[in-house]
Symmetry: C2
């Protein structure tokens, strides 16, 4: 019987160890530790002081409009075939995984390549506008391209064909069409990619003249449904969308929305929006107003490339600053180069933290990490920790065998520079070490640019 | 040193055992063992003999049209609130997981419940038509509702809010609107659910008279783009879609396609389709023609609830028989009750196999399992095995600890009644044991109904 009990003891021990295979799920303490709104961190700053002089902000706002409408003023495609079809080389070398979580077949890859109709590029130069919230795709298909779902941080929702959400009312230049005619390749101010043909409408000169008025409105809340004067639903919109402003009264704004005719042409329709839901662009650039827009997105879940009309780290920042007329590019690396970049790469973790507190402008600077970006909120008066507001997927974990994993966050969150580091499986200072620098957004002078 | 080497031996053993945690990925042999087309199995059957007398098929086709257009002839909602909002009770009790793979919050669930605008149901009775390929959702949201992604066969792509794909040109009755106005609840002939408002157009009496002509065409291939007479892209269609047939020449068919005006009204547009891509409904109901339609879907990946315009098991069968004017319901259980059901539930595996061969009509009977359905192809002359054509997700596996997993297939496949059983982790006769019965499709008499 001794043998038998020894056997069971060994078996229990083994099973106990084997259970270590299952990923931990206890979450990240920062989400409970810190108040999860931006407004909670206004105390330490001059909340109502303008971050920029009015003339400086006005120049930025004019620049925003130029970039937004630039596709309508292009003579033709600005991207070469290599740039337009970068997915070919980037993903042609990788083993993709399809929506059935199985390796993508060579046949399907060939079909995808053929659908690009490469030889004819660029085949069009026709201004158009998005007529619903849609997404720029790297290939003309709604079907996903995952990397191996067994790898940490891969598989759903990381569809590498998803480039960016594109809100309704975005001016684009159509420069190409897919082999089957169902997708258009477009250049937009923020990015380029393939759109379903039915999500676009062609704009003629009259439409563009009536639409590009120089006076625009922005939204103050997400998931806003717009209805026409008869009460019929027209479109759903989000913070970060921009529409022409026709009129403004103390109660409401009258905006223009693009609709699509049966012939695929754009037609503008006027809609009324109450003043609590929309405002003229640019909003006054103060920490309090930035916090209000950020908190209107509070609780939002992470959306890789804008999946499900959610936001990833850089889309959150882009949409956050759009109402203020501050143009941010679509990806985190380019955002870091918008304004004054303070390089922190070679500093120790402690020196990085000190330099961030020294250089960072609360509510108006970005912290850039490899593959991630965040808004700097300043130093939390209670804990003394510099805090970030960011839409992030996860903290990286390593189990006792060294295998990488993820402690999921998957939402817009306020964290310290040590998210998840209370966990045994998250490395101390791992997040800090990934920080490359801090970017003071355009129009301000760096406080200390010696780093 | 002995101690040390013993330690490493033990450690190696442990690591070896631990590696058993990783799921196996070696696939399912049937996919290499059997030719993966339906046409390969026509030898054993009278491939060109009509499965039904012409008058019988005509009656079925008339019935198909009645069911397809039924929503336009309803006085109002046929579903009570309990039936329309069944997702409330079914999923309200379950812990759902969101698109960030984290538990769905109580707050989000409450928002979902509020979006149904339950108290006002039914609030409309307005005939409409789908103007693009879209999906019937259980709640008015495109965001998913997963069960625990750590469970086998759960998580992506099993979004329980996805009820069914709905092809362009499907008549519906709109009976309700979401709280935000962005979604309509519709009853369609095949199923009910929520559609994005922009995917529908209202049909007036003139439109419906011109559209419900009694003469229809079906598609002979998937992913077909339709263009208007000027060559402009109109819509993408698939096998299983049905359109009014205006004219037919030896070269082409002229069909009607519904478009959406800026005011959300349906307008019909005529399109030309070459005869190799479309044909008048119903097609001659022979094994050869059924095989041709099935093989036009060959290689298609699994699409839960029609995700990405792919098909699941029951959608494949529904779309397969639509060109023949044979109406199948949308879910596998209801499909099993369409025609003559031969109950095999209480038989031994060997007796089930024998009874299936005895009762089943190759190419015109369905094999029903708990949660799955397949087309019976008859007995493979080479192996002597009864074969199935089905779009299936996976074979169920059990590791040495008894933990359930999946050997993924995720595509339309020809298999025996033992898919994956060459694997050590797939139980012998597990698939056969799940078989509940065989359904002889409508219009034929059972060969042996004594089971």
């Amino acid at each position: 019987m001794v043998r038998r009990s020894r056997f069971y003891l060994l078996l229990s021990l083994l099973l106990l160890l084997l259970s270590a295979c299952a990923p931990r799920t206890q979450g990240v303490a920062d989400l409970e530790r810190y108040a999860q709104t931006a407004a909670a961190y206004l105390d330490g700053v001059a909340a109502d002081a303008a971050l920029l002089a009015p003339g400086v902000q006005q120049n930025l706002d004019d620049d925003f409009d130029r970039r937004f409408f630039a596709p309508w003023h292009q003579q033709g495609a600005t991207l070469g075939a290599q740039e337009a079809f970068w997915g070919l080389t980037s993903y042609g070398k990788r083993q993709g995984f399809a929506e059935n979580l199985q390796p993508l077949s060579a046949e399907r890859w060939e079909d995808l390549v053929a659908s690009l109709n490469q030889d004819a590029y660029p085949s069009l130069a026709r201004p158009a506008i998005s007529v619903r919230n849609t997404a720029l795709r790297i290939f003309p298909t709604a079907r996903p391209f995952f990397l191996d779902p067994k790898l940490p941080g891969e598989g759903y929702p990381f569809d590498y064909f998803q480039n960016s959400a594109l809100w309704v009312g975005t001016p684009v230049l159509v420069t190409h069409v897919s082999a089957d005619g169902a997708w258009y390749f477009v250049e937009a101010g923020l990015a380029s990619g393939w759109l379903p043909a039915l999500d676009l409408a062609w704009t003629d000169e009259d439409f563009r003249r009536d639409y590009e008025t120089g006076r625009y409105a922005v939204l103050l809340r997400d998931d806003l449904s717009l209805h026409d004067e008869q009460g019929d639903f027209l479109v759903r919109t989000h913070i970060g969308a921009v529409f022409p402003l026709l009129e403004q009264s103390p109660e409401e704004l009258r905006l223009l929305i693009p609709l699509r005719t049966v012939d695929g042409r754009a037609q503008a329709r006027s809609v009324r929006v109450p003043v609590q839901d929309a405002a003229p662009k640019p909003l006054p650039l103060t920490p309090r107003r930035i916090a209000a827009i950020a908190d209107a997105m509070a609780g939002q879940l992470y959306g890789w490339g804008g999946l499900y009309e959610n936001r990833d780290c850089s889309a959150f920042l882009r949409d956050l600053f759009t109402p203020f007329g501050v143009w941010l590019p679509r990806n985190s690396g380019a955002q870091a180069q918008t304004g004054t970049f303070v390089d922190l790469q070679d500093l120790s973790p402690a020196a990085k933290k000190a330099a961030l507190q020294d250089s960072g402008i609360p509510f108006y600077s970005l912290v850039w990490l490899r593959g991630h970006t965040a808004l700097y909120l300043g130093v939390d008066p209670r804990s003394g920790e510099p805090l970030l507001l960011h839409n992030l997927w996860a903290a990286r974990t390593h189990d006792w065998r060294g295998r990488e994993g993820r402690a999921l966050i998957g939402r817009l969150a306020v964290t310290s520079l040590h998210p998840g580091e209370e966990r045994r499986d998250v490395r101390r200072n791992g997040f800090l070490e990934r920080i490359l620098g801090v970017t003071l957004l355009p129009g301000v002078e760096g406080k200390s640019s010696e780093h």
